[in-house]
Amino acid sequence: MSIVCPVSLDREKLKSEVRATYAKVAENPQGEFHFHRGPEYAARLLGYDLAELNALPPIATAPFAGVGNPFMMDALPSGGTVIDIGSGGGMDCLLAARRVGPQGRVVGIDMTDAMLARARRGAAEANLPQARFEKADMTELPLDSGIVDVVISNGVINLAPEKQKVFNELFRVVRPGGRLQFADIIVSTELSEEARNNIDLWTG
């Protein structure tokens, strides 16, 4: 069920393509893409509460492009520290910020400037100062070791060409007894070499 980036695929090019794709989503979430976006999709196919999403700033919810629902698995701890890997427009971070409350903190990590701008504005509009956003690669998190209670993520780790590095970094920042609860894609059949080298499939 894992995907390993083939040697022939340029990893920097892949990162660049991912950044470019999600910059386009940030600039125009209603544009033509081969994946769903927005709160209606999140409610219809992923089980989010549409009323809760509609209470958040559209600037944060419109570019949502997750593939599952990290909030279904377990409650986030009140006052806890949560990080969101690939926070995009910030929708999941704002939901997490409401759950951890004002004594908690949520750090969204993303590498796309336009998404970070949306997320920061969304947190300000929602009056959720416990949510902040950092530009970083998910293999080099700007966080101390052992401080995170819960890592969330939604449809992003599959985009990383070096997944083991990502998992190593998550293991470093999670505190003993902490957890990952994230959504991502799984592939139940062996991919052909052609599919594995198709950068369009990686960026979706």
Binding site: L46, M73, F167, F171, Q181, T189, L201
Partner: protein
């Protein structure tokens, strides 16, 4: 994904829910061909 998480040191790694995340998109056929779905994962770091 599960094996990689376990090899990293995470415990009790589980897939909890599946989602037809690509239903109705232009990649629905590709997703069906390769069995691509969204899924929820949970994994713990030992206390």
């Amino acid at each position: 994904m599960i094996e990689a998480l376990q090899q990293t040191g995470f415990l009790r790694v589980r897939v909890w829910h599946f989602f037809n995340s690509f239903s109705g998109t232009t990649k629905e056929g590709v997703a069906r061909k390769y069995g691509v779905q969204g899924a929820n994962f949970i994994a713990y770091k030992t206390a």
